[in-house]
């Protein structure tokens, strides 16, 4: 197999490959680069064909392979479009990349050749775009006449013969004053045209000499060459090729990662901007008039808002959430680690049954248990003292219910971590003189620290974001959590301030964010070595 591939590659390389660069003319180098770039475009276009032209085939591919999965139509279209969009840029990059070996010998010559190749590729790409009427040559709705703004209305300077305006009877020298009875400027007219569809009719009020007349113009599709777009395209092409020549190979993975991360980062950026804005348009904060600006702190006003009848103070709610999440983390860690140890290391009757039952509980949808748990909590509430802290409508009760739902995951996770510790370490500790209990917390627990951290963080976060259980088992606002608080903001009869909701959301997210920043080191740090075969 390997030999066959290398054989094929040898057949494909041009006779000039492998020669010292001094013996190859620059023109030849440029042609080679253009060739490689075109091959790249071709390969991508094959992808486009597969995803767009052969769409039905792609949709049925899983079925042909015996899978039940379905492929969404928008998915194939998106992929096709994405390939189509990146194809030219990739081609410029390939053209530049081809000159990389030369760059280590002769920078100037490499750069020159890369730019020349990129320019040629650009010309070819532009030709392609012209043929397919895309990019700078895309067809847009047009009146097919040249206009100029004057004091006395919009002056028609030229009319494309046989075009939309010509067909409607408009002649050069006419002055357009209004659409129907609404007076327009040139900018407004252009906007109106851009927003209409081909085939729509716009009634233009036209002054011709002293007469005034209305002409219904049917909007046509016209190719409008935009030189600015073409120039920008060329500059980008040259820039990409130049960067590709000097692009250090080690940067590629980072560039890819950044490209993938960008949508996520933009999302967070938007969230942050939105909380400080009156309104946003894209990433730009705008004021009530739609002008850029409008930065405000009013979305954060909830931080110092006093509690009113139905609206609790945010700090009270945060304290509730913190108590529930912390309690949950502590109880889940304690119970899971001990139960996991017992299930991993001890043999007792019912061990297997217990394991499968916890798994079933894990798969149980919480919603189906809501009513049953309500009665349980009500009954706990009837127990003196204990009921005051763990009954219905208490933070303890809510934490208890959430712990129960989190435990199956925790127990299984901890059992898995304990299973991974060799028996010999435990035996060694027992022989060294430790009791079983001491072995557990002094020898075994430190070794599953990454697991404990992970589980602790999971438990804390699920408590921090809890909604269903606190919403169900609390009356009024006494035990409301942050998620419940956000819900109350939307359920008001007054208009919803989405930016304020974004602010509360950001406020709720911050601790989680901080935890992840500090804990990721521990989450990634798995102990290595010390026991043969277990690292």
């Amino acid at each position: 197999m390997a030999t066959a591939t290398s054989q094929r590659e040898q057949d494909m390389v041009s006779p000039t490959d492998g020669l010292p660069f001094e013996r190859i003319s620059t023109g030849e180098l440029v042609l080679q680069a253009v060739y490689s770039a075109l091959v790249t475009v071709m390969l991508l276009e094959i992808g486009v064909i597969v995803f767009r032209v052969l769409e039905p085939l792609v949709h049925h591919a899983p079925a042909l392979l015996g899978s039940d999965a379905t492929i969404d139509e928008t998915f194939t279209r998106t992929i096709g479009n994405a390939l189509m969009t990146i194809a030219p840029f990739l081609a410029y990059a390939v053209a530049g990349h081809k000159m990389k070996p030369l760059a280590s010998v002769d920078r100037a010559r490499a750069l020159g050749a890369a730019l020349a190749a990129a320019a040629m590729v650009f010309v070819l790409v532009t030709m392609g775009q012209y043929v397919f009427r895309i990019g700078p040559f895309a067809e847009r709705p047009s009146l097919e006449m040249t206009l100029r703004q004057t004091d006395a209305g919009i002056l028609v300077e030229e009319v494309v013969s046989g075009g939309a305006a010509d067909r409607a009877g408009i002649r050069p020298g006419d002055r357009i004053t209004a659409i129907r009875r609404v007076e327009v400027t040139l900018a407004e007219l252009n906007t109106a045209v851009r927003q209409s569809k081909v085939g729509d009719v716009i009634r233009l009020r036209v002054e011709r000499g002293d007469e005034e007349e209305q002409f219904p113009v049917e909007i046509a599709a016209a190719m409008e060459i935009r030189p600015a777009a073409l120039a920008a395209g060329l500059v980008i092409a040259l820039l990409i090729a130049a960067v590709a020549v000097f692009w250090p190979g080690g940067w590629t993975p980072y560039a890819l990662l950044i490209a993938i991360m960008l949508p996520l980062a933009v999302g967070y950026l938007w969230l942050i901007i939105a909380t400080f804005s009156f309104r946003t348009e894209g990433l730009l904060p705008v004021n009530a008039q739609g002008e850029v600006g409008g930065l405000t702190l009013r979305n954060w006003e909830f931080l110092w808002r006093e509690a009113t009848g139905s609206n609790p103070s945010i700090w009270r709610v945060t304290l509730n959430t913190l108590v529930i999440a912390t309690a949950m983390m502590a109880i889940v860690l304690l119970v899971s680690s001990m139960a996991g140890y017992a299930l991993s290391r001890m043999n007792f009757p019912g061990r297997r049954t217990f394991l499968s039952l916890t798994l079933i509980l894990h798969g149980f949808p919480a919603v189906t248990l809501l009513i049953a748990i309500f009665f349980v909590l009500r009954n706990i509430g009837n127990i003196p003292v204990l009921g005051d802290y763990f009954g219905f409508n208490t933070r303890g009760g809510i934490a208890l219910v959430m712990v129960a739902f989190e435990l199956p995951l925790g127990v299984w996770l901890m059992k898995g971590f304990f299973d991974g510790i060799p028996w010999d370490i435990e035996r060694s500790a027992l022989i060294d003189g430790a009791s079983r209990w001491r072995t557990f917390y002094e020898i075994l627990l430190p070794q599953i620290r990454p697991g404990l951290l992970a589980l602790g963080i999971f438990a804390f976060i699920s408590g921090w974001g809890a909604y269903l259980i606190p919403q169900t088992y609390s009356i009024g606002t006494k035990t409301a959590t942050l998620a419940v608080y956000i819900n109350q903001l939307t359920s008001d009869t007054a208009p919803v301030n989405w930016n304020e909701i974004a602010a509360v959301g950001l406020f709720q997210m911050l601790p989680v964010f901080v935890i992840f920043i500090f804990a990721q080191e521990y989450l990634l740090n798995i102990y290595a070595g010390g026991t043969k075969g277990s690292s």
Binding site: P422, D424, I425, R427, S428, A429, L430, I431, D432, G433, A434, S435, R438, I443, P446, Q447, R449, Y527, A528, G529, G530, T531, K532, G533, S534, S535
Partner: protein
């Protein structure tokens, strides 16, 4: 510390791990438990350590019955095949851990750990973590941890199996030297008969949970009591041939389908007394190539071992003998060959019971 195992038995549910093992280990003795994987030798060791509780039988340290004594109260040191170091502690922390649990004063801990570490040649590694050490260094740490509390008994569970061949040789000598120097009663579990032969004062051969023999290495090698021991101890293993003993003119002959050799009168008589078919055993190094030899065959395979060539000699379709030969003889496969057996060393075993007819 004298250790006595009396009718020790361990069952896991219906599976028998160890059955009726009785042996007596003298104070300061180095005993190896030798046997193939899964034979119950580690189970026996873990019972001595107190990790497993015996199903039946008694374990004595000195005169004290240890069956109900927790591992921490037995004052033993143990070295594991996997090293079993605590990965979250430094080398110092690992070695000091038994002392910490005994509540030895901090100053004394430091002095004792340093002394042991220096003895093991890891005195400058005390700040490292186990993950930063090589396999050999980790094993030294494990050994240091076992020794630091000055145990009455040292237990080794295949401690050298994870080391490379060279290092194994070095550690083998070091462990043996240490044991003799400190005089601590030691039990050493291994499946490697070379390790057992070279290190141990006495070897307990265990098969299928039963004690097959408990003897000195020389006795096991020269006077194997069962067919299993004869085949298990020694490398390359002993040859076995089914023969019948005939007596002609006062001389005993072992007669097989492809050979007929005279055997010494004492051994021949013992085998003849049994009568009928017996298994004759002869080690490869007790067979020499001799043109005048009585046994003829054809070389089937030649395996060069470096110092010797191991020949696989075909006597007939059913009988083959392993023979150690001098490489200078340049024997090659297919050559006809004549062999001479050193009959002073032949063994005879009962076909059915597989017990030796010579040694009881």
């Amino acid at each position: 510390m004298r250790i006595a195992l009396e009718h020790l038995t361990k069952k896991f549910g219906n599976v028998v791990g160890v059955e009726d093992v009785s042996l007596d280990i003298r104070d300061g003795e180095f005993v190896a438990f030798l046997g193939p994987s899964g034979c119950g030798k580690t189970t026996t060791l873990l019972m001595v350590a107190g990790i497993y509780r015996p199903t039946a039988g008694i374990i004595r340290f000195g005169d004290r019955v240890m069956n109900q004594v927790a591992p921490k109260d037995r004052n033993i040191g143990m070295v594991f095949q996997s090293y079993a170091l605590y990965p979250h502690m430094t080398v110092f922390g690992n070695i000091a851990y038994p002392l910490k649990l005994k509540k030895v004063p901090k100053q004394e801990q430091i002095a004792r750990v340093q002394a042991v570490a220096d003895k093991m040649g890891i005195g400058d590694l005390l700040d490292r973590r186990p993950g930063q050490l090589s396999g050999g260094q980790q094993q030294r740490v494990a050994l240091g941890r076992a020794l630091v509390k000055q145990p009455d008994v040292l237990l080794f569970d295949e401690p050298l199996s994870n080391l490379d061949a060279r290092l194994r040789l070095v550690m083998r000598a070091e462990i043996k030297h240490l044991q003799k120097e400190l005089g601590i009663t030691s039990i050493y579990v291994t499946h490697d008969q070379v390790e057992a032969m070279t290190m141990a004062d006495r070897i307990a051969v265990i098969q299928n949970g039963r004690l097959q023999a408990f003897d000195t290495p020389d006795d096991l090698y020269d006077r194997p009591k069962t067919l299993f021991i004869a085949g298990f101890v020694g490398n390359p293993p002993m040859n076995f041939v089914d023969v019948e003993i005939e007596q002609t003119n006062g001389v005993y002959y072992a007669v097989g389908p492809a050979l007929r050799v005279a055997v010494p009168p004492d051994r021949g008589a013992a085998a003849a007394a049994h009568g009928g078919r017996v298994v004759m055993g002869i080690r490869p190094e007790d067979i020499t190539i001799d043109p005048a030899g009585a046994v003829r065959g054809r070389v089937f395979v030649v395996e060069p071992l470096g110092r010797d060539d191991l020949l696989d000699v075909e006597l007939d379709a059913h009988t083959r003998l392993h023979v150690l030969a001098d490489p200078k003889l340049k024997v090659s496969a297919g050559d006809p060959i004549s062999l001479k057996l050193d009959t002073q060393k032949v063994q005879f075993f009962d076909v059915a019971t597989e017990r030796s007819l010579l040694w009881q």
